[in-house]
Amino acid sequence: MSIPTIAEAAALIAAKKLSPVELTQACLARMTAMDNTLHAFILPTEERALSDAKAAEAAIMKDGPIGKLHGIPIGLKDIVDTAGIPTTCQSKILVDNVPDSDATCAAKLAAAGTVLMGKLTTHEFADGGPSFDLPKPPSRNPWNPEHFTAGSSSGTGAAVAAGMILCGIGTDTGGSIRGPAALCGIAGMKPTYGLVSRAGVAPAAFSLDHIGPMAWTAEDCAIMLQALAGHDPKDPASANRAVPDYSALIGVGLKGVRIGVIRHFHEVDHKVAAATQAGIDNAAATFRSLGAEVVDVTLSPLQDWHACGSLISITERASAYEEWARTRLGDFSERVQRRLMLGALVSGVDYVQAVRRRRELRAELKAAMTNLDIVITAGAPGEAPKMDAIPRWDVFASPGFTMPFNVSGYPAMAICAGFGPAGLPVSVQLVGKPFQEAKVFQVADAFEKATPFRAKRPSMVG
């Protein structure tokens, strides 16, 4: 069986031309064939998957599907609590942790009738990586297993690209949805801060943490976000707003859409590889050809956004994990130990200055987007690097393209923009105004449908 998108599978399931059990078995077969190489799963849940699939099939045969996710195989990043199923956060510290309740996002996906294929590989507590001193090995890139997936939602990126699941949960504190989406050639949406509940998900940095969908296409991310969004009193940052139809603008086209290119981010502040530059230029040209207006836009240097987000992240993480850092530091991976050590060198005044800077930067982005619907820049600097090429202190190596939109809380999405000389994907990042995810999906979907990149899967998938 070829790998369908969620939209395709949902239509076939609704027409009773595709069985959720057959779909699940095909995903399990890919898992069996590839996961010894890719390590996308920390814990596969085959029995649960088949049980969920049979239940979905019986319900659909009786009453029809309850929605587009009914009978769809998914995975959950292993920092998402699952009742009765180990949630280790890929850490020695929680290797025996079995939550007694589901995280809100896990419960919502279960209520939508999804099929749980397992818990997906993550960097330890969604930080650092790749690390080789953890309970399980790091995930590898399906386009070339010698290369990195990025992280921390590394298993989700690999599993979606390899067709082991049709979508999965990612979390994003500085780019952990969009980085793996970019390097694995899939679509990943970091929604507006507060749109998806963080309740029951291990924190990385409270004010930067986002939960969101990762799938093969923007349209599939819209379908998944529909099930995830909504107010949750268990999350103190949860936005109390009506949930719109995130697929409402899919297929509408781009006539009249106004798009800004933050050119200095990827051409000056952190110059990207030629293939990524070509991908962004092609995206801008494609948007114009589809009727959008495209202009350049200027913000503060990328380094300012990165510094602001990094100082906040270092401090909030050190706060969340202070007790274990004091008592069990040696039980963390070397990479996470280094991140936690940094907390000792950032003062309370440093943190507050970063949060004051955050207010200024967010106001700057708001003003820059007054007459724009979307801004774009790179999703990653180039193709995926090799697994052994990640700097020890990567937070200081170069400013990330994704952090500005954790700092601002604006919705941001990485999609595939082509392929580089090594045959690995390159990406473009699309950013919308707060709670305007549907507009981001509209633009991303138009690009995907106007270009050939969604027709190509990693060669190991067959």
Binding site: A307, Q337, M341, L345, Q353, V355, R356, R359, W393
Partner: protein
């Protein structure tokens, strides 16, 4: 923060944080103090004392229920 940090100052900060590091970890940490100082400089823009934080405390609907 200065771009370099002495052993005594580092030991004080680590002790304040309750962290026990070995000599290799301390040496490793000292390699990034310059980069960290640069980050701290970037968030210190000219601004008056009245400039607020990004997130300030406010009562939510749940608080008032």
């Amino acid at each position: 923060m200065p771009s370099e940090i002495g052993d005594e100052a580092l030991d004080f900060l680590l002790a304040s944080a309750g962290l026990e590091l070995n000599p290799e970890q301390k040496a490793d940490l000292k390699t990034i103090t310059e980069s960290l100082a640069a980050m701290k400089a970037r968030v210190r823009q000219p601004r008056g004392r009245m400039a607020e934080l990004a997130h300030t405390y406010g009562f939510t609907e749940e608080d008032l229920a």
